[in-house]
């Protein structure tokens, strides 16, 4: 888990595009993969996020939030635009495949993995971001709060609601997730 840093890091990232790209490109790809359902498209879109960053980040003002918060916001907007453009959300076979390859439970069935991926993709944007930052990237709730501009309590509440929505969706899909 990366340290988000303070103003000094913010200033450094404003000047060092390559450093910014290397530090954050992978997590933006992971985030977009879930949002748009394709790892390949996510890689392309993540590059667009960084091209936008190249143009805009040098002009950002320090407001106590890291450049990464801005990157996630742009990525979220681009993902929303991409989905709108596509007209419908599509579950990526490749994401399901990657789940198959990396799933902890080798006995998990394809329909179950599909249901899991579909349930995650169906969460509202703000829920998805909180889940991603905490569960996928491993940021602390304090950092999640900083990145999303919310309070810690609000992030924890979103996490609870996300978990409930996921469970409800899985139950609806006939998938039982044991404790």
């Amino acid at each position: 888990m990366a340290d988000l840093g303070g103003e000094q890091r913010f200033r450094r990232e404003q000047r060092d595009f390559d450093g910014l790209f290397r530090a954050h490109y992978p997590e933006i790809v992971r985030y977009l993969s879930v949002r748009i359902g394709s790892r390949e498209e996510a890689s392309d879109l993540a590059s667009e996020v960084f091209l936008e960053a190249f143009r805009r980040v040098p002009g950002l003002r320090w407001r106590g939030r890291p450049v990464l918060a801005w990157l996630y916001r742009v990525a979220a907007n681009m993902a929303a635009d991409s989905l709108r453009k596509r007209g419908r959300e599509v579950l990526s076979p490749e994401l399901v495949e990657s789940a198959a390859a990396e799933a902890r439970d080798p006995a998990a069935t394809l329909p179950e993995r599909e249901a899991l991926a579909r349930a995650l993709a169906s969460l509202p944007d703000d829920h998805q971001l909180v889940v991603h930052l905490r569960l996928v990237e491993g940021y602390s709730f304090a950092d999640v709060a900083r990145l999303t501009g919310r309070s810690v309590g609000s992030c924890q509440m979103l996490m609870l609601r996300s978990a409930r929505r996921l469970r409800a969706q899985l139950e609806q899909a006939g998938v039982r997730v044991p404790a």
Binding site: F17, D18, F21, R22, Y25, P26, V29, R30, Y31, S33, V34, G37, S38, R39, E41, S43, S47, F50, L51, E52, F54, R55, R56, G59, V74, N77, M78, D81, R84, K85, R86, R88, V90, V96, S98, A99, E102, A103, R104, D105, R113, L116, A119, L120, V131, L135, V136, F141, G153, Q156, M157, M159, L160, A163, R164, R167, L170, V177, P178, A179
Partner: protein
């Protein structure tokens, strides 16, 4: 459950996720759900992939830097006509937070980046009589980088341009000529003519803000900082906006304080996305001459054709997409690489079916068929295929994708056959 109980549960879940509390009961089930659901997203992106992507992105950054360093001397020439709309610079995203200042209101009046604008403009020479006035209707979708405009002079259509998927098509009815290029640099007039002033104004507002905003009666006059067009022309914009609607009414492009072009904005409206497809169709009459241009503006020239063995084709990177040794009940008969001065494409023939793999150059055979027929966009998987009927009656489909875009042309197959066949294409490795 009361709000307090909810908060307590949320805190317990958070503590369990942090490993500070042993999950039990409902919390344990929720932790499991969260962990299982996020498994697919927990993949590593290899360092070499990051470096490769950085290398791929860097030239686009360098282009911007180079352009910014070039002198502004070409301005007067480039703005002689100031027609036409959008290309690369229209592909941008609003990231500016809305504020209460004039520029934020001006931005908001134009809608977010996802809004599709229909703009009516009147283009007038800064010096009376320098060129005839004309009117133009522009449809602009900055999210998809799509634009279409029709320009009329003295009631006659003089130009129609479509910018889509990074390609530009410019139809000149008076010349019976369609010019196709992959960027505005392919056109003799360069990018200055191919940038819509409203799009440029919106970009300037979003990116740099204003350096001056003055109220004068019922209008505001905004002066925007110097900006660089894709072909390195640098301009300053002075924009007059209505003080009530905050929509632009007049855009002047200036060099050294001297107005070189004046565009009156007669109306700016937003249209639903569902209507956009109707506005993007550019059909040219049969018999129109088609000229394909390279990025540098030269005409596309075929340099040669090379027959490839299957073994050789398997070594290509990125791999070609093919349908296997047999495709739609036809055997693979040949694989050829066709070289033009602007790039190459690969042609796989299965009897009467031709499968193209291409990227920088659209094969002229395909282009000729494409521009004479309306294309129908059809969702295929997580992509969109464009179907059209060629003048000879064949069915064609194009699918833009990373690596190679592909196109299938088949004379005796139906759309249903081709959709099914697309699903069977796979990398030739």
């Amino acid at each position: 459950m009361s709000r307090r109980e909810e908060q307590a549960l949320a805190t317990r879940l958070a503590r369990a996720l942090d490993g500070r509390e042993e999950p039990a009961g409902d919390v344990a089930a929720l932790v499991t759900v969260l962990e299982r659901a996020t498994e697919p997203a927990r993949f590593a992106v290899a360092d070499e992939d990051v470096e490769r992507e950085l290398v791929r992105v860097r030239p686009r950054l360098d282009r911007g830097r180079t352009a910014a360093r070039r002198p502004a001397s070409r301005l007067a020439v480039a703005f002689g006509a100031v027609a036409a709309a959008a290309i690369a610079v229209v592909v941008f995203t609003f990231v500016r937070l809305p504020g209460t200042d004039i520029e934020a209101k001006a931005l908001s009046a134009l809608g977010g980046a996802s809004s599709i604008l229909e703009i009516r403009e009147r283009i007038e020479p800064a010096v009376a009589g320098a060129f005839p006035s004309s009117t133009r209707t522009v449809w602009l979708d900055s999210v998809q980088g799509v634009a279409h405009w029709i320009q009329l002079s003295e009631g006659e259509q003089v130009e129609e341009v479509v910018v889509e998927s990074g390609r530009m098509k410019r139809y000149l009815p008076g010349q019976h000529l369609l010019i196709v290029g992959s960027s505005c640099r392919a056109f003799a007039s360069g990018c200055a003519e191919l940038v819509d002033p409203v799009a440029f104004y919106r970009q300037a507002l979003a990116g740099h803000g204003t350096i001056e905003a003055k109220r004068e009666g019922n209008v505001y006059r905004l002066t925007l900082p110097l900006q660089t067009l894709p072909d390195a022309v640098r301009i300053e914009q002075r924009v007059t906006i209505d003080a009530e609607t905050f929509l632009p009414t007049l855009i002047e492009w200036r060099e050294n304080g001297r107005t070189v072009s004046r565009i009156a904005i007669e109306s700016v409206g937003r249209i639903p996305r569902s209507e956009l497809f109707d506005q993007l169709d550019l059909r040219v009459p049969l018999g129109t001459t088609i000229e394909q241009r390279t990025n540098s503006g030269k005409s596309l020239q075929k340099l040669g054709e090379t027959r490839l063995s299957l073994r050789r084709a398997r070594t290509l990177d990125p791999p070609l997409l093919w349908g296997g040794p047999e495709f739609l009940y036809r055997r693979l008969t040949s694989i050829d690489r066709i070289d033009w001065n602007a790039g190459s494409a690969y042609r796989l023939r299965y009897g009467s079916i031709t499968l193209w793999n291409f990227n920088s150059v659209v094969p002229p055979q395909l282009l000729a068929a494409r521009v004479s027929a309306p294309a129908k966009p059809v969702p295929i998987g997580n992509n969109v295929g464009h179907f059209y009927q060629t003048p000879s009656g064949a069915v064609a489909v194009e699918l833009d994708r990373r690596g190679h875009s592909i196109a299938i042309m088949a004379s005796a197959s139906t759309k249903v056959d081709i959709v099914a066949a697309l699903g069977r294409l796979r990398p030739l490795q």
